[in-house]
Symmetry: D2
Subunit: 351 residues, 4 copies
């Protein structure tokens, strides 16, 4: 590809914006040409992110968000702004003919009412819901390639849906008895200044939060219901880990078929056979968040327990990379005719 793909980023001050800037710094073909922020406009990216000093993308001057301006110079725009704000910018950009990857929740739920109920706010662009493609490449790669608007999946849902997909698609487990116990690194709590996420409040501690009404619940249910071909209501319990990055979801299911671990493992391997970024681990191995750090890998471990007839599925992702900006970039790559993983780190960072 001879010409550069040009990208814009609306919202740079959060961890997802920060992560996207990191990834764009080494993209061979896509170039970040706009980064916007109401609070930081006028500064160079490297002024607010010293880690970008001396890197080309760090020289980019932050501008005020302006759809018309973004349209003049961007092939694709990433929205790393809060929900509700995102829907309006997305609409404006689409009208200008720009492809949009929205990292907020605004277009993830197909049903306007479900959105309005869980997010406690009106949806002002419901006409776009049908068009938005849920940006999970392993499930929707073809639609992503043709999409104008991507609803980039939530971090928890990414880990849960990828973990459950083969079991549900193959009808191995009961749809009515799913429990998901998820644990996320603290970057998932955002970069806002709050006492609750201060170092001394998080470090050397652990807690559950948001039970039983975390907003990722309906998103997970929507996608796994499609896979199962039946409406699923499940228990989803998020927890806060004293780590920077990473989500590990431990998913408890009841086996409904007489399959042993070998057969289940084979079905998982088959399901993800041509999906190199989902790694179904060898039997007996379990995922760890460090093994996917900084990448879009999703590692899946499988445990069958004959005592309880449960299949326990454990999936690990990097919540910032696979759970947000890395997956957003993969989606943008596909929308722009590039290989899915263009510009994404090939190997996790260890330790």
């Amino acid at each position: 590809m001879s010409r550069k793909i040009t990208a814009g980023l609306v919202g740079v001050t959060g961890y997802t914006g920060m992560e996207l800037a990191r990834l764009m710094a080494q993209h061979p073909v896509m170039e970040l040409v706009r980064a916007t922020s109401r609070s930081e406009a006028g500064k160079k990216l490297a002024e607010i992110y010293p880690f970008l000093n001396g890197i080309t993308v760090g020289e980019l001057e932050i501008t005020l968000p302006d759809p018309a301006d973004l349209a003049t110079c961007c092939d694709v725009v990433f929205l790393a702004v809060p929900h509700k704000t995102a829907m309006e910018i997305a609409d404006a950009l689409l009208k200008e003919g720009v492809k949009v990857v929205d990292l907020s929740a605004d277009f993830r739920l197909n049903d306007k009412d479900t959105y309005e109920q869980w997010y406690a706010t009106g949806h002002t662009r419901p006409e776009l819901l049908a068009e938005a493609v849920y940006g999970l490449p392993e499930l929707y790669e073809e639609q992503i390639r043709d999409a104008r608007l991507i609803a980039n999946p939530g971090c928890y849902p990414t880990s849960c849906i990828l973990g459950l997909a083969p079991a549900l698609k193959n009808g191995f487990v009961a749809a009515e008895d799913i429990v998901i116990d998820s644990k996320s690194g603290t970057s998932g709590a955002g970069r806002g200044a709050k006492v609750g996420t201060l170092f001394c409040e998080v470090h050397d501690s652990f807690k559950a939060y948001g039970l039983p009404t975390h907003r990722h619940t309906p998103e997970i249910e929507q996608e796994v219901s499609k896979l199962a071909g039946t409406d699923i209501t499940l228990s989803f319990s998020p927890h806060l880990l004293p780590i920077d990055r990473g989500i590990l979801s431990t998913i408890y299911t009841k086996l409904t078929v007489d399959k042993d671990l070998d057969a289940i493992h084979a079905a998982y391997t088959e399901f993800y056979a041509d999906k190199p970024h989902v790694r179904v681990l060898p039997k007996g191995r379990l995922p760890e968040t460090r093994f996917v750090r900084g990448t879009i890998f999703c590692d899946i471990g499988l445990v069958a327990d004959p005592r309880t007839n449960r299949l326990v599925i454990i999936s690990a992702i990097d919540n910032l990379c696979r759970g947000a900006s890395g997956q957003a970039l993969a989606n943008a790559n596909l929308m722009c005719g590039l290989p899915l993983a263009a510009g994404l780190p090939a190997a996790p960072m260890m330790p």
Copy 2:
């Protein structure tokens, strides 16, 4: 009480031995008069534990383990040695007339066969199994007072049993559908030199381990079966947290009664009404491991989810204090006629 109670500690090099030394340093009535270790004999405690410098207990010279010697000077002896080793020392000490609190697993399981199956070794002192009292004070305080031999509960079981007891005793939840997702700080993995628990292998990561055959499973099942009055088989999944201390167990149950959260919460509060070290949190509050750090508190939070008809019980303890040495000391206190909490820290350390 005018005279000192004298105590011995067999096995000082692990984290449970270390924790017991810390607690004994400020006990008003009980005095540590023996500490034994095969590898460190001849040194003062403060030489291997510099934090005990300048504290009386730090001056204690470590000796070789010798039941006869321990019998001459100790009212009670704590065993902080690996399972299998413990059963033999316990027997020898009991024969010498010494009270024993065994922190290993050797006397926790009432059934010899269950022990031998899960621990993959023969039990050489089965005649003591019937006598040993399971040292969970909230459930067995009377028996503990009269006991010669305490099987000090495992760390995970302590958190799980206390969390489940009121629900099972009251028949609120289904016995056949219990999932426990537990997360423990790394001190629970012991103080042995292993690559897997090096700082750089644990820090900034998270994983499940030991699924589905962790040895605490039959211990939990034994005790919750007694509470429920029926045999319970459950799923228990431990995870490793990058924190020093703390266990948080998220327990998923199915409600079998038509009770709302108010009623369930009232039953929990009632169940633990005269048990000040179990704190049933106000509705809407969830436990955090930091809030119990360094103490024998067990904090319990309750979540009812009408969507799934599940009751989610979350319990938090300090794995080293409540989950091992602090509970051991509480048991010894009771065995020696002291108040349960004598010498134990009144308040958690925050942050």
Copy 3:
């Protein structure tokens, strides 16, 4: 002592207020009878600090700060409020006849001009500067016993002054060539909601800050100058550690006398012979912050380097306990005729 000593705490929402509440929870003689906060008045302490649930002190209702009210019921009042605010409350309380331990910087500097220059604000109660006693018990125990107003030392200065005192008092090192490289846990940065102290900004990182004008510099210089008997100007460089608690100061000095490590170590041991909370470590041992965690111990290690003729002094304290609230409590104990360490934890918490 038959009657309780009563204490008040002005400012409960910061880490020093939190730590004082923890310590008061287990004080045998002193009782916290007032805790004030403008933002949290009306709540019980346990409502804002769930770790105090079920503990007597947690039941205390937070009130608005009112010197007259505090005077009616408190023998001694701790001020855990920002500088400038503290000086005014201190004055009001003293006028009411209450003893005051001020944890802010307002009365630490003997010289009004130095205060105004480094703190960039006017001092409105300079008449109290001469009366205020610098509350470092190892140096000023007698004066503390008789004081009405204690200027509780800063965290860094406590570690630095205790480390340097024997060397300077004995004239071992050059007054004009002192470099202090200090590292503090993040609780020292306060409990305000700021992006810079969010978990993800601090964890897995390390930095220096505030060079070369940190406000603890003149406080250190004032006290070490008194010890040396000559005006000292030194380099002080603080750093931020990704730990909750602890300060370690590495102090570089030039030897001016022909003394070997044995002689220097003997002089240190002698200097602190009757000061049990300063532990001069055996030669060859170096302090670690964990070994003093939760206590008022100050551990000092000594290294002589014949190659450079430098004496390197390393001192470790717990910045919240010895560096703030624990030392404040020790001072209040002395002011109220109690043993210095009454109510303070006897042993550090490890790990």
Copy 4:
């Protein structure tokens, strides 16, 4: 460049071997074709490093170290084995005509006696000392391009030498009065199973170690003496940080010239003008280890203190990447005619 450069790695089980594997996973031109280990031979790299699952380099089978075999297929070989072992393998490989980058200390010190004194062992290949090039690209790029044998610098020395070079080369600071206070992440302590580097021993603590005889001292002195043109003896004090990666060195010097910070900053900027991987930060900015994580950047901050006439230089690197394997790869790149930074991450990973 059309053909692949082939590389071998002797010693894969430590953190430096692990880091080199990570970096090679995304090198566009250089390919890892051999990885050796006595203990792990026969396994694939991904079996011992699950983070390499699904990545080409992870498929590489570990072999026994065999110089002849390495010579048949490798253009360049990295030695990630302990000192003493390295010198012998290096010699054997050189005799086979292979270029060698030695990550051990064996060829860093030009003087055999100094090596033998500080490392307490004989040097069996002293004839190679004169030929070995000290692999700090900012100082020795030309010699590195032509070298057969690279002595890859130590982690601490890299941070210290880069920090001091402009000041010493320009004669700004006194050669006889340099104090270096360095702090390293725990990966620098190696991947051996030792109690001292267990998670619970390191996490939430901080200490100095190895004073005053850390083996990196003579290496630093050797290189800064060359820069200053005079023999330098300095104080070097390493500390252990509870982070995975990163070294921050705080370097205290005495100014000997009448230069203000502007002039000094300009000289630093000039010195590193064409060295893009050393980032001299804007005045008023200080380095943080997170800002260089995973890269070969070295960030330098400058503080002038008129009160003490000291220049404080603070430098930050990633100890595993710039301090070991990344710098080794940069050296190999240069030796093989590639751009210095080929295959190295362009941007740090944040958070």
